[in-house]
């Protein structure tokens, strides 16, 4: 590992890695050269994407020589445009969610929308009773993600970008035990 990579690794470990891991992701320094850091991200897309700007900020603050931070997924190469038009992917996802998910989660006052598509990564937002629900992760990982993966081969990843802490009416609230 180069000195630069070691410095970046140390900055990640000090500041952000626990948050990433806690959310189900992992980050590894794949390369650090010419001022550009390439980070390999695995695990939950929702663990890393919402923190992307913070990751870059932490690294650039800790390692002054860094001018850019790139995120890549193993096997996918650098983040790249999806072969499918983003609008098509978003529209297809929206149709599936409206037809097969939203009618069901309406029973819990919930609703899911497409927040956007970037480089084949679909971002969804949970609303109503799903926002802040203690079972939201179950709904996303066991329900929505497998459904969309099976229907949308162009989808590289799914990120739940919901601000769950801002939910004011979750269907289920957790209890401390």
């Amino acid at each position: 590992m180069t000195d630069l990579a070691a410095q970046v690794t140390a900055a990640l470990e000090r500041g952000l890695l626990p948050s990433v891991i806690a959310r189900g992701g992992a980050v590894r320094v794949a390369a650090a050269e010419n001022g550009i850091v390439t980070l390999e991200v695995t695990g939950s897309p929702g663990a890393v994407l919402p923190l992307a700007s913070r990751i870059e900020g932490v690294i650039r603050a800790a390692v002054p020589g860094i001018t850019a931070v790139r995120l890549v997924t193993p096997g996918a190469g650098p983040a790249r445009p999806s072969p499918e038009d983003p609008g098509d992917l978003a529209g297809a996802a929206r149709r599936i969610l409206d037809a097969e998910v939203n009618p069901a989660i309406a029973a819990h006052r919930g609703h899911v929308t497409v927040a956007g598509v970037t480089d084949g990564w679909l971002r969804i937002r949970l609303e109503g009773g799903c926002q802040g629900c203690s079972l939201a992760e179950v709904t996303v990982r066991q329900g929505i993600e497998p459904l969309l993966r099976s229907r949308l081969p162009a989808m590289i990843g799914l990120a739940d970008v919901t601000d769950h802490e801002a939910g004011t009416d979750p269907f289920f609230s957790p209890e401390k035990r």
Partner: protein, 432 residues
């Protein structure tokens, strides 16, 4: 810096199939799901809350209807390698399902013992486990409470047997206070819709430092995964758990004795496998520190506290729990001892801590101010507010919620503790 994650955009690795039972109202769902994803497990989820949507619908179960739940699971899950309960309400059902599937499991009686503070006390007394003097008071009348309190001595602690998270626990310094505490706890039990006539425990108050021990049982042997000190634990009348810091700074001989006590306590309840969370006090009267059991649960540490822990390879506590359930070794240094110290190389990677934000007063939570300032404290790694704005909240002993959790790390436990205290000082809950 790597973890063991499922690869995005590529084929998802399919490991053994594991059935996870997830109660609707738990903090623990996300962390177990994420752990399963990182391990590449073929996960089947059963829950009393989630809706059956998508390609892999959640199986609906009801802990109050084990037969119906088992029938649905058997019809839908296919063969599974292990059954894991994500939190307390699913423990009995998990044991029943595992038994029906012919998988290793805790005996049902052991799970019941761990869920009831009166049964715990009785089993530990029979096994000679160190614990406070106690009396179990059935459907207590005031004079019975008074007599029980006088029997254990003052100060004493009056406890509900079925509640958790410090709910329904009050210290009393004299007979009148004990009676008042019992009346208040009965009100709390009624509000929690517990069965009428549920007994109370009246026990000796033990002064001294408090700690929690988390571990994994395999064949009745305990491997410790984390020991948290609880600095700042109040002396009563309520017992908010706020600050947890690991690793413990207690002297090694005291820790060794505490671990041995926790292991003995788990076995006395009949538990043989899976996670345990034990709470002890180090009775420091008489100059000879002596660990004594307060409580033990057949689950991981509660709330989001496990997020303070990281193990080699970036593994989480939930990953260790799932690995153990699948029969995998959970750490280097495992030697199958009767009760074991933290295995070499298996300690949390860095000193860490968590601050559980208590509810300071009754009312409607309007805001939690100062979050950015709290997050800016060096060493703070996370802050999560878990009560929705607009909700009514109650403090202990009646409340059963914390406002949220602050996480921190440091080069030493002291650093982690100082970061948590500083962050806590920058937060202000607005409750009206």
């Amino acid at each position: 810096v790597t973890g063991t994650g499922a690869v995005l955009g590529g084929p998802v690795p399919i490991g053994p199939r594991l059935l996870l039972l997830v109660p609707a109202r738990s903090y623990r769902a996300a962390d177990f799901l994420l752990a399963a994803a990182r391990m590449g497990l073929d996960l089947i989820v059963a829950s009393d809350g989630a809706l059956p949507i998508g390609g892999r619908p959640v199986i609906h179960v009801n802990p109050a209807d084990p037969d119906g739940s088992i029938h649905r699971i058997l019809a839908r899950s296919g063969p599974v390698a292990a059954v894991v309960a994500a939190d307390t309400p699913m423990l009995m059902l998990a044991a029943a399902v595992a038994e029906r599937l012919g998988l290793p499991h805790n005996p049902a009686d052991a799970v019941l013992n761990a869920a009831d503070k009166a049964r715990q006390r009785q089993r530990w007394a029979a096994a000679g486990v160190a614990q406070p003097r106690f009396e179990i008071v059935p459907a207590a009348a005031d004079d019975v409470i008074r007599q029980a309190a006088e029997a254990v001595g003052f100060p004493c602690v009056v406890k509900a047997v079925s509640l958790s998270a410090s709910q329904g626990i009050l210290r009393a310094d004299d007979p009148a206070a004990a009676v008042t505490a019992a009346r208040r706890i009965r009100q709390i039990l009624a509000a929690a819709r517990r069965p009428h006539g549920e007994p109370l425990v009246v026990e000796e108050y033990l002064p001294g430092p408090e700690l929690s021990i988390d571990g994994l049982l395999v064949g009745g042997d305990l491997t410790v995964t984390a020991i948290f000190d609880k600095p700042g634990m109040p002396d009563g009348p309520t017992f908010e758990e706020t600050l947890l810091v690991t690793p413990s700074r207690l002297p090694p001989p005291v820790l060794a004795a505490a671990i041995a006590t926790a292991g003995q306590a788990a076995r006395a309840l009949g538990l043989t496998r899976g996670p345990v969370h034990a709470e002890l006090r180090i009775d420091d009267r008489g100059g000879q520190p002596r660990p004594a059991m307060l409580e033990l649960a057949a689950r991981c540490i509660g709330g989001l506290c496990s997020r303070a822990l990281r193990f080699p390879g970036g593994k989480t506590l939930e990953e260790l729990v799932l690995a153990s359930a699948l029969g995998r070794s959970v750490g280097a240094g495992w030697s199958g001892g009767h009760c074991q110290q933290v295995p070499a190389g298996h300690e949390p990677v860095r000193p860490a801590g968590v601050f559980m934000l208590p509810v300071p007063q009754s009312g409607v939570l309007r805001a939690v101010e100062g979050r950015d300032a709290a997050l800016a404290v060096p060493g703070v790694t996370g802050l999560t507010i878990t009560i929705p704005i607009g909700r009514h909240v109650d403090p202990l002993p009646g409340g059963d919620r914390y406002l949220g959790f602050i996480f921190a790390e440091g080069n030493t436990p002291e650093q982690a503790e100082q970061a948590l205290a500083a962050a806590r000082g920058r937060l202000r809950a607005v409750i009206q």
